[in-house]
Amino acid sequence: MTEAVPAAARTGQRRAAVNGLRRLPEFLTIWVPLLLSAGHLIAFALWTLWISFTPSTLVPVSGWVGLRNYTAMMATRNWQIAFDNLLVFGSGFVLLSVLTGLALAILLDQRIRGENVLRSIFLYPLAVSFVVTGTVWSWLLNPGIGIQKLVNDLGWTSFRFDWLIDRDMAIWTIVIAAVWQSSGFAMALFLAGLRSVDGDLIKAAQIDGAGPVRMYRRVILPTLWPITVTVVVIQLQFAITTFDLVRALTGGGPGTATQLPALVVYDFMFQRGLLARGAAAAVLMLLILLAVLLPYAAWQYLQRRQSAHA
């Protein structure tokens, strides 16, 4: 009896080992993709962060220069222009695309015939590459061959629409193209929100004699504000990381008039060969993004807790 215990334990161990071996493929299937994904995210973010503190130029080198790359980057004219542009582009684009999206959603919510076709029309730009749409808008907005030329040829010869080559207005061409491309997304989310408004609420307001305008202002729109926050955050995230659209539409010009942070990162990393400076710019981009995303995450957390308690 006394000897049987370790023997049983030994076979148990062996069985566990065999069992473990048999479950190895399953273990690998589960963990390898997840670890690759999670691992590269953490490792790459830390890696870029680390490079931003080194004196790397053409190749990554070790060493520590503290915040020097950050102070140098923020002192460059390029970064300052890019940051100012981001403020203009971000607020203009988000405001206009939210308003356009909301207007479209309300219009489509009026039991319109052909709603599906119309919805597809407002959403198709999202399926197309920013390189394609940026190229097309660069033609339309080019005063020599686009809209201005057309109107001039039609007889209105003093008509001017040359924002694309106007240093002060060029950033608004990016706003136009971006609103055109992604307001359909805001529309889709708002429409889903409008469709989920409580029917009883609407009926009660109708019984109270509320007209359509009052109905929207007092009853329906107030229920949409959580969706509005989500739309704003997603559109801001897009604005902060915008790259392709600018490359295709203006290339960052005229001069540096349409520089955005993502273009500065690329420029320093791969065109000037200043890796550490570029990495610092990337980290700054991430910080701007976090300034938007962290409050949003906290807000979502609070909302969830509230609805869990209710």
Partner: protein
Amino acid sequence: MRETTFAPSRMLIYLLVLMIAAAYLVPLLVVVLNSLRTAEEIAQTSMIGWPKQWAWGNYLVAWGDFCIAQTCAGIRPYMLNSALVTIPATIVSTLLGAVAGYAVSLWRFRGDRWIYGVVTLGIFLPQQMRLLPWTIVLRDLGLTNTLTGLVMIHTIQGLSFTTLFCRNYYSAIPQELIRAARIDGAGFYRIFWRIVLPLSPPILIVTVIWQFTHIWNEFLYGVTFTTGQQQPVTAALIALSASIADIPQHGVQSAAVMIAALPTLLVYLFGGRYFVRGLTAGAVK
């Protein structure tokens, strides 16, 4: 507000909607028409106009003839590159995402929550934070300027989205179903094949369409990690505009743009419903 008589207010609504719809269609219409006009015709008038003679030849030139940088083989090789990157990366990332989503939502294992949380952070981490590490990893693996390298990058990065989509979808499958199957002795793979996969077609379509569209349209990695003949079509379009800026060829260029946009436009035309579902699923995470 919901009556269907043709009051003036309803006429106004239709007028507004149709006008905005027209504005959304104009850029597409302009490219399609330009792709069928000759360069001389465009130069004489503007980019906006009806073709006087239909220049179908633009498409042939765009597809196989004109020069991008130093090579004169049209857009065909770059379309092929994009296909060779997009198709494998879409399939592999979707399959891996389905298995990962299943493991995280139904199989459950120690640490599943936190690793899933980290994986979904990939939706928010900007590509700019990964550019240098990928450059170094590609160099060390000897995959610089190869399509294989791009496939690898898009597969690993895509996992964030595919896992999220599938995990959210599978969460609706009752846990009891899985528990009962496990008591019957079914293992990890068997449950996946027999129970989870047969329920998956809707989410797999959403995921495939999402991945295909995003990888096909991707530009930053394409232009950073490949050069010349190895570039995907988005990068080639930019190179094209740069290389023919001196002698504009807007007809041929429009045809090239149309060809490059066609795969995702077709996917949208036939799978629009699923595409939109992917958009909103990513949003309300």
